[in-house]
């Protein structure tokens, strides 16, 4: 059955994420970071940052929640039981620090079919309270087409 591509270009409402100091520390510990910029507010301030710095991959936390409505959108039509996270890309701008407020918009970048697999690519655009783009993400999910 050909994959339905009608949702390409669809954009979802902005989600807001307030970056908290302890959340950054929790995330940094969970991925094994030891750089004190992520963990120690005094060290971060001494290095010139307003607060602890979020590791680049913290983007999954502030942008990830924005993806959920797209993943569950019936118009996109993903079958979760057969979904795999196939690939991921992030491009980063200025670093995110605790205290930042991040606004993320998700859109459906592409839906395509190759070799019996359906590819769903979502794009996230995340901006801080100054309007600077801190991260754009391309999230590729693959669904086996067994139908």
């Amino acid at each position: 059955m050909p994959v339905n591509t009608d949702a390409i270009g669809k954009t979802y409402p902005v989600t807001m994420y307030a970056v908290g100091r302890e959340k950054v520390r929790e995330y940094a510990h969970a991925v094994g970071e030891t750089n004190l910029l992520y963990l120690d507010v005094e060290a971060a301030r001494a290095a010139g940052y307003a607060d602890v710095v979020a590791p680049p991959m913290f983007a999954v936390v502030y942008a990830g929640r924005s993806i959920t409505p797209a993943l569950f959108d019936p118009e996109v039509g993903i079958d979760f039981a057969r979904m795999l996270h196939g690939g991921q890309e992030f491009r980063w701008g200025p670093v995110v620090v605790a205290g930042d407020e991040i606004a993320t918009t998700t859109s459906v970048k592409d839906i395509s079919e190759r070799g019996g697999m359906n590819f769903f690519v979502f794009e996230t655009d995340s901006r801080n309270q100054r309007g600077e783009t801190v991260c754009t993400g391309a999230w590729t999910n693959i669904v086996r087409d067994d139908s």
């Binding site: 910029l37 990830g64 996270h85 196939g86």
Partner: protein
Amino acid sequence: MSVERGGPVRLEAGDPVHLEVTPDRFVTVRYAGASGDFNPIHIDEEFARSVGLPGRILHGLWTMAQVARAHTDAAGGPERLKRLSVQFRGMGRMEEPIVVSGTVREVADGTAVVDSQAEQSGHRIIRNAVAEISVD
């Protein structure tokens, strides 16, 4: 532990990027809480087996975070990493060493392009990773 905030960074073609890490058996629980990804294939042994997996598996984005860490360590801090793209293959397991290895492909116009992968027990669980690091 140390503070690393990218002072001058000089990378040359052929320079290595390397990181070794062995995920402990509860890392997926901590990462689920930290990231908000509570997919039971990562935290529930019984559920994971019921869907045909050998057991709980690592979050792909946790493994990608190890690839990112290899690069920010090489770059001397988080500000220098400007781009990272990866492909996920197979599944990562707990309590088996993961080796992230990469090489600087080229340096041009203030950007070092790095190719890397993450390998565990002979399987390349992250392939075709490409990173861009801003250099001086």
